[in-house]
């Protein structure tokens, strides 16, 4: 572990609506992560729910951010897609009608405007199957929690942030 990397602050942010079945994937993920793993001091974890700008203090303290979320693109439900912040572009805040429409990408823009965005942002996302009301993931998405966990653990290992299951 190099000293340089060790000092970096890494954030893991799960977002989504816990009351809208598969939309809550990121929230379920954070619950599982904190239950099953011991996390070193330089890893910050947050269940962000559907919060907008309230996430900015969390994000601005980070060097590296991993976001776990669902994604609105065409494809088979359960398919995992990974993006960096360079791959995606944000919408247009001013023509939106409500504060909820200020999503993660707009928050990252605001952090950039303040010169406080993380150096690296990666989104690990999954296509949802069911967006009706309810608090349980579908059978399609439930197994994806482990799959995304393995992807995240491998990523963390690459930057020398090895996390271990709880005893």
């Amino acid at each position: 572990m190099t000293e340089n990397i060790k000092r970096k602050t890494v954030g893991i942010l799960g977002i989504g609506n816990y009351l809208v079945r598969d939309e809550g994937f990121g929230v379920h993920f954070i619950e599982r992560l904190t239950k099953q793993y011991d996390l070193p001091d330089n890893i910050e974890v947050l269940d962000g729910g559907t919060a907008g700008i309230m996430l900015s203090p969390f994000i601005e303290q980070l060097d590296i951010l991993y976001v776990i979320d669902t994604v609105a693109i065409d494809g088979e439900p359960g398919t995992i897609h990974r993006f960096t912040d360079k791959d995606v572009r944000s919408g247009n805040i001013a023509t939106r009608l409500s504060p909820h429409q200020v999503g993660l990408l707009e928050i990252l823009d605001i952090c950039r405007l303040r010169d406080k965005a993380p150096q690296y942002v990666e989104m690990i996302t999954v296509i949802p199957e069911d967006l009706t009301s309810g608090i349980e993931l579908t059978k399609c998405l439930e197994p994806k929690l482990d799959e995304v966990m393995q992807i995240l653990l491998a990523e963390l290992k690459k930057i020398d942030c090895d996390i271990r299951p709880k005893e």
Binding site: I15, G16, N17, Y18, L19, V20, E23, D47, G48, G49, T50, A51, G52, I53, M54, L55, S56, P57, V67, D69, T70, V71, A72, I73, H81, F83, D87, V88, R89, S90, G91, N92, I93, A94, T95, R96, L97, S98, P99, H100, Q101, V102, G103, L104, L105, E106, D109, I110, R112, L113, R114, M123, T125, P128, L131, T132, S133, G134, I135
Partner: protein
């Protein structure tokens, strides 16, 4: 010939607000407000333990987490007739007031200011003249020529990069933009500072509520924030002083930046003081509780009918039948099965979707009514209800803001101009000033009470056999919020949330009376139907909050609010 325009979210992200308007000869003649997603929270709660309801309700909405948590514990306490310790009231009051300060600042700067401020025009400003302008309205230390030069350079860099980020607005140079370059530069500088101050409010909220965005320390019966002034793991003096310092800094921003900016927008856009009134029946619920029962408050509640302040009638307590008995919801124009108007205890929530029917059903929102009338809720309602009752703090800050608008606009304006689009912004700033004072007052009340040796924070609830009914209300940043519960043998039988944005954004009722958003758009000017800046101005002034449901990542940033001219 009338033209139809639709401002409609077009991504696959569901759950947003759609506005339809008909424009004739440059003015809006008809409007419809439609909520595009059904929230099934009520059905998720049935059969659960009432003590857990707040954990679920704070997930209804990512912006309003604390307000749904607070209304939920209050509704169960009301059903049980449970008093809560005074320390718990003060802590809840700190939570709600600090949350509102955060919310109001973010609403104006991040979500509305760009309706009035032309960022690109700021590049043409003379930084020295900007300083003169700023110094004429406030002595804020951030208003310096060097600061304005630096902000201008930042804006230039953003424009040069082509990555406009949060300033990527299609409406620069719109004919309805009227501020001089210096006012625009000052406002952009304050936008950037507002991002710092919203963080301070958020930090204070996190300390007093355990965590944000989802607060941790509520409980039916009180709070769970153990108080021990000498223990590092609890709410102690060090943490309390840090909260106080942050609130004082935010208060200074509100007085020296937010209020002067609102005054400038209202005065420099004085034509707009005649637009956007809509429904002028108002309702606010009392809040900032001063006793254990909910009978004495620092913020008054009540109703005003027909814009006539002399009709004011107070809502006096958590148990006041004037509120309990007079709220109903109508589904004549909503995508639910039936055509009824019912009291919340008697409602059901059975979805029945049709297409968008101009004269039939066209929204997932119900139409809440008070004594059969549509009511506008929000900071404007709260300020007018307080003003009409002679509430000292409200009268003081309202008169101050109105006098300053009069001075800058060169015309004498009274409270009547508050029934307008800029009036809603002014009322929100007035409310922020009041709440910054009240947050500090309740900090003192809490510390004094703890100092007297009272450390109680919780009264245990017990659930008798049989049926209990209750309502919990809270004057949230967007207005009167109420949760209604029916408990049977200790579990939830029915739960309904009547939220502020439903009062404001709800549809017509069975008598064809339009909701506040719809009514507020009638008569608004519309310079360019394909760039409906004027619609956004009026709708934003309500601080809409209905798109709470879904938050998927939209990786390709599709144009979000599509405008169709039919």
């Amino acid at each position: 010939m009338a033209q139809r325009i639709v401002v409609d979210p077009v991504t696959r992200i569901e759950g947003h607000l759609r506005i339809d308007a008909e424009v004739d000869n440059g003015f809006i003649t008809k409007a419809w407000s439609s909520g595009q997603m059904w929230r099934g929270i009520e059905n998720i709660l049935q059969g659960r333990d009432p003590r857990d309801a707040w954990v679920f309700t704070q997930r209804i909405c990512g912006v309003c987490t604390t307000v749904h948590a607070l209304a939920s514990v209050r509704t169960v306490e009301n059903a049980l007739g449970l008093e809560i310790p005074i320390n718990a009231q003060y802590i809840r009051n700190l939570v709600q007031s600090i949350h509102a300060l955060h919310d109001h600042i973010v609403h104006f700067y991040v979500l509305s200011a760009l309706d009035w401020v032309d960022v690109v025009s700021a590049l043409k400003a003379d930084p020295k003249k900007t300083t003169q302008l700023a110094e004429s309205i406030s002595n804020w230390p951030g208003n310096s020529t060097n600061r304005f030069k630096a902000v201008q350079a930042k804006v230039q860099a953003i424009v040069d990069s082509g990555q406009l980020g949060p300033f990527a607005n299609a409406y620069w140079g719109h004919p309805a933009m009227a501020l001089p370059p210096e006012a625009n530069l000052m406002a952009v500088s304050h936008y950037l500072e507002a991002l710092d101050y919203q963080r301070k409010a958020n930090e204070a909220l996190a300390i007093i509520s355990g965590k944000t965005p989802h607060i941790q320390n509520l409980s039916v019966g009180g709070v769970t924030a153990a108080i021990n002034l000498d223990n590092e793991a609890t709410l102690n003096m060090e943490r309390l002083y840090w909260v106080k310092q942050l609130v004082e800094e935010v208060r200074s921003f509100i007085h020296n930046v937010y209020i002067p900016d609102i005054v400038a927008v209202a005065a420099l856009y004085k034509d707009w003081l005649q637009y956007g009134a809509g429904v002028t029946n108002y309702m606010a619920v009392p809040d900032m509780v001063l006793d254990t029962k909910g009978e004495s408050f620092d913020l008054p509640g009540g109703t005003i009918m027909g814009g006539d302040l002399t009709t004011v009638k107070p809502i006096k307590s958590f148990n006041d039948p004037y509120f309990h008995d007079n709220v109903a919801e109508c589904i004549s124009h909503s995508w639910y099965d039936g055509d009824w108007t019912r009291h919340p205890y008697e409602e059901d929530t059975v979805p029945k979707y049709t297409e968008f029917q101009d004269d039939g059903k066209y929204t997932w929102l119900k139409a809440p009514r008070f004594q059969g009338e549509p009511m506008q809720v929000g900071p404007l309602a709260q300020v007018l209800v307080g003003y009409a009752q002679g509430h000292e703090l409200t009268v003081k800050y309202s008169n101050d803001v109105l006098a300053r608008i009069s001075g800058l606009a060169g015309v004498n304006v009274g409270p009547a101009v508050l029934h307008s689009t800029p009036g809603r912004h002014a009322a929100r700033a007035i409310r922020a000033a009041m709440l910054s004072d009240l947050a500090l007052k309740h900090w003192d009340l809490l510390v004094d009470n703890i100092g007297s040796g009272d450390l109680e924070i919780f009264n245990k609830p017990t659930f008798p056999k049989g049926i209990q009914k209750g309502v919990g209300f809270h004057e949230a940043p967007r207005g009167a919020l109420s949760h209604w519960i029916v408990i049977e043998d200790g579990t939830i039988k029915n739960y309904q949330c009547v939220v502020p944005s439903t009062w404001n954004a709800g549809p017509r009722d069975d008598k064809g009376k339009a909701g506040p958003y719809e009514a507020s758009l009638i008569g608004n000017p519309m310079a360019q139907p394909d760039m409906p800046l004027e619609v956004l101005r009026t709708i934003h002034s309500f601080d809409p909050c209905i798109a709470c449901a879904v938050h998927m990542l939209d990786p390709y940033g599709q144009e979000f609010a599509k405008v169709k001219v039919l």
